[in-house]
């Protein structure tokens, strides 16, 4: 088997888990199940093409176009697909509109279900025990940790993604944004506001 010094150096710096993944990849490539170049494309796709900027465009469109917002309420899968966002882990979409009366927040207590076509792959905290355990029993405590304190008159509705329905929160449009363009508005839509753990606006 070819073996050069560079490769050896590479190995010596890898953690046990990284070595295990590399060994599995090598085996699968050898058997012809996986093309490493296809893996490169997959990684690049989720690093640069499928991410929360997609969801932000959906939200900005909903803020500026009442007909689009209505469509999103009635058939989110189709309304989101019309902007080009569709596919894996977004097969059945539901949009949840936050209002002064109700604040929606999304979790997957059983695993890590998340609407990939509009938000990309989930952040570590979304998949980790602290959030998954507390979101359903103490949503207001969770929100406080994200710096969000809601009035007591606002009800909190937590959506546990137990099936293949994926939820996108449409946060409330920030005040004093009347003059902004759709693109400028999209810049105010942070990822967490579409999970429901923050409000829309620039994140400090």
């Amino acid at each position: 088997m070819p073996h050069d010094g560079h490769d050896h150096d590479d190995h010596s710096e890898l953690s046990p888990i990284a070595l295990r993944v590399r060994a599995l990849e090598s085996l699968l490539v050898e058997k012809g199940y996986v093309d490493p170049a296809a893996l490169d494309v997959l990684i690049d796709t989720y690093e640069t093409k499928i991410g929360p900027r997609n969801g932000a465009k959906v939200v900005a469109r909903a803020w500026t176009d009442p007909a689009y917002a209505k469509w999103l309420k009635e058939d989110a899968t189709a309304a989101i697909e019309s902007l080009g966002y569709t596919g894996r882990q977004g097969e059945h979409m539901v949009a949840l509109f936050n209002t002064p009366e109700i604040h929606n927040m999304v979790v997957c207590t059983l695993c890590s279900c998340y609407p990939w076509p509009v938000l990309g792959l989930p952040p570590v905290w979304y998949k980790s025990p602290p959030y998954r355990s507390r979101a359903v029993i103490d949503p207001r405590g969770v929100l406080a940790e994200f710096g969000v304190t809601l009035p007591e008159t606002t009800k909190v509705s937590v959506w546990d993604s137990t099936a293949e329905i994926r939820y996108l929160v449409i946060p409330m449009r920030p005040a004093n944004t009347e003059g902004l363009s759709e693109d400028e508005l999209a810049g105010l839509v942070n990822r967490d506001s579409m999970i429901g753990t923050r409000l829309a606006g620039k994140v400090a």
């Binding site: 199940y33 796709t45 989720y46 991410g51 059945h92 207590t109 059983l110 952040p123 959030y131």
Partner: protein, 199 residues
Amino acid sequence: MNGVHDLGGMMGFGPIAAPAVEPVFHEKWEGRMAALVMAVPGDWSIDEDRAACESMHPAKYLKTSYYEHWLHGLELLLKKHTPDSASAMRPADIWPALTARRSYVRDIETPAAFAVGQNVRVKVMHPAGHTRAPRYVRGHTGEVVRLHGAHVFPDSNALGRGENPQWLYTVRFTAKELWGRANDDTVMLDLWEPYLEPA
């Protein structure tokens, strides 16, 4: 299975510690792992994949990162299945595959047993296999707020016993019912008909 993955309502895991900005993959191996799970041309379902990830020992599940759960799951699936090398994905296949329109909705002949507005109770049950009815709602009563049609039933599909489509409902539970809270907060879950009984 009453596994450690069923985390809803547990306590003691500490703060959420969410950075406002973080990379998609924190280490290179995470990206390779995620890509492998998406690329291997296996004949297993998403439900069997979830069941495989859930089969980790509880202590290990809690100590490891999510992509290590995926590694555990894929290693297990590869012991039971032989992927089809003729279906290996090439770079040009990725975008069409990731963005293909798919559906978990299936035809069903029996009518839905419950209607929007009706109260239902989640059965008290402890299946040994994969299920998507978390422990924290079992035995509790909620209101059907939406009917989604018949969807692939994970409890059957994860075991390789076919898709066995069942009616899927969104059910609303009050925080008072689930947790004894005094406020008007609610928790919504998507639950298949076999999990439910009339209340």
